[in-house]
Symmetry: none
Subunit: 217 residues, 2 copies
DNA sequence: CCAAAAATAAGGGGAAACCCTCACTACAAA
DNA sequence: TTTGTAGTGAGGGTTTCCCCTTATTTTTGG
């Protein structure tokens, strides 16, 4: 098996030595360097680039969150694996969007850590199982009330008109598309504004988007 | 094992009979009724409420998407299990937010269907594995480009104006709020429309939302 | 069948948006 | 110094939106 060179950045010496012990039984994982703050880490990276960087988010000088974008742009080949105790969905998405390949919670078993290192080394993504579930729930639950109350008040025709408005059609174009007169389309528009209690077309679009009217096609 | 009473709504007779055959080997699942359109379904539900409703999104008269909110509010005890061929993350989240308990793709094995029915009956959630993965990827990837690519073409002032437009301010109100003349605000608006290559204010709002300009505060 | 809701259509007036062009200032970079 | 960009301001004209009212036809549900 190919040797994977890794670096570790964590502000606690104890955790670093713990990781060293944890990874000792796996000879294909070579710890190339360990760092206890962001400055050291960045300096170290300029000399040796590991395959995988195991990074804590809480560092004494600069947070791992802030230095990540710089690292991923400067060293695109380094796969960053976050190892932290912060378990909020918001932090997970933020870090993944900033280019991290993996996200682990402290307290995972040694097998999990090794699997994660191997996975991100292969270019895959590795996110703690529990976090994946939390992320999903987050997506699903978010804003449930607002959108299911407003839209059912609309008639079929009004929904059609609203959808077209949200697709940047003018009243005239809507009328032609639906084979109704300009006046009728205009009426639907005004009724929508009143029913949904918004100021203008802009408000209509926001409601339409929130209600998921633009998902079809 | 307790008997689970289910109803099926799908516009294809073939699929209904297929499901019947599929579920025959499972005596604890009792098909209470089958419907091929939304009207029949709603009428049927007023007489017998199944434990689980297996629902297709494409019905001849009204889409399953539209009748779902009504069903969940009127019959909160009915667990809705979507069975469709629409596999977009957007549709999955929309339906789940509208109160569905499960989302399956046509083409799943019979075992999957039974597991899903049992799961939602127990009050759990059941989402097709492949879709879960897609949803996650969607959360992670999406919004990264839009946020960091499109908007940087705009100047600071233009971003401010765009934000206010998306908050339903008129040009006049924007001018007052930013202490600039009506003409200047109008110019910014026109420049935005050209820069972002949209037709009108509606397009601007969509871009603003996608770019996450409305999330701050 | 009858009442209610939905969809259709229209008049008219005022406001806002849209789309050019032009012009001046400030400020920073080449 | 010149060039470029951002921000500001304005003229003038066309289109679209907004809001009110009224009214007929069609569809739907009890």
């Amino acid at each position: 098996m190919e040797t994977i060179h890794i670096a570790i950045a964590d502000d606690h010496e104890l955790i670093i030595s713990g990781l060293k012990t944890l990874l000792k039984p796996y000879p294909h994982i070579n710890i190339q360097g360990t760092y206890t703050n962001a400055r050291q880490l960045l300096e170290g990276l300029s000399f040796y680039q590991p395959d995988v960087l195991v990074l804590d988010l809480l560092l004494p000088d600069q947070s791992g969150k802030d230095i990540t974008p710089g690292i991923t742009t400067q060293y695109p080949n380094i796969k960053i694996l976050i190892l932290t105790s912060i378990d909020t969905p918001a932090m997970v998405t933020t870090m993944l969007r900033r280019g991290c390949k993996g996200y682990l919670l402290k307290g995972s078993g040694s097998g999990t850590l090794v699997s994660a290192i191997e996975a991100v080394y292969r270019g895959e993504e590795y996110i703690e199982i529990a976090l994946r579930e939390q992320l999903l729930q987050n997506v699903i639950r978010y804003k449930n009330q607002a959108q299911d109350m407003v839209i059912p008040e609309l008639t079929q025709r009004e929904k059609e008109v609203l959808e077209l408005i949200a697709k940047e059609y003018t009243t005239k174009e809507i009328a032609e598309k639906l084979f109704i007169s300009y006046r009728t389309a205009e009426n639907h528009r005004c009724n929508l504004i009143q029913k949904l209690d918004v100021k203008n077309t802009v408000g209509l679009v926001k409601v339409a988007i929130q209600a998921g009217l633009l998902n079809n096609e």
